[in-house]
């Protein structure tokens, strides 16, 4: 096992973080990578923004009506 994630691995873990609980080892490796990598940190925030946008849509937010 490589000690450090590549960006490719970090990207995938950031998405999977929305679908399952990452293991302690995964979380640690991800944290180390994000500490060194602005690009993946930004990507992680973007994943969360997409999740929040979909949560709003799941509540009924759409392009033609403001409030659910």
């Amino acid at each position: 096992m490589r000690l450090f994630y590549t960006c490719k691995q970090a990207h995938q873990k950031l998405s999977e973080n929305l679908d399952r609980e990452l293991s302690l080892v995964e979380r640690t490796q991800l944290k180390i990578h994000l500490g060194m990598c602005d690009s993946c940190t930004n990507f992680g925030r973007q994943m969360k923004t997409i999740r929040m946008a979909m949560q709003a849509m799941a509540k009924g937010k759409s392009s033609d009506q403001d409030e659910p």
Binding site: T6, C7, K8, Q9, H11, Q12, S15, E16, L18, D19, R20, D38, S39, C40, N42, F43, R45, Q46, M47, T49, I50, R51, M52, A53, M54, Q55, A56, M57, A58, K59, G60, K61, S62, S63, D64, Q65, D66, E67, P68
Partner: protein
Amino acid sequence: MSHIAELHQQLERMRPALQRFAMLQLRNADHAEDAVQEALLAVLEKPESFSGKSTLRTYVIGILKFKIIDFLRASNRESQLADFAGEDQSDDDIVDHLFNANGHTVEAASAWGAPEASLQQQDFFKTLEICLEKLPTQTARVFMMREWLELSTEEICKELALSTSNLWVLLYRARLRLRECLELNWFANTSSKK
């Protein structure tokens, strides 16, 4: 105006949005229309069930989701999972072109400006809807089941007879595509819009 007539009007005003939601999930205009029709009829048949605890819109969308889940269950029994294999090829490309051989991103992801403010704007949701429409059919179906129907990964795997690792990969690819589409069509422009 009678109570029922008023309810009828409110439901009609919601219909276009309901149709779009159903279409994003089902990817078939006839099926989407059937699901919306069934949901609206269910509300009209038992208007007293709407307790007023939630807004009418929330209530109707909840019913629509049940109808769509029923529909997915019925159609999954007949559908071919070969559909997934066909889409895999182009989905691999979407991952591959983001990273070089060392696993580094080819182009660094820049921060999105003011994402919270974007979520307050109807135009943002228009862009999001367009980006969702552009997803490959099976990828979109899985993504919408997870994020719009808000089903657990276990439920989705069971419904579609997918392994969890397959599902994670499909969801990851959907998010990559959405990220790219939103970046190009929304966030790249947000600074110039202000």
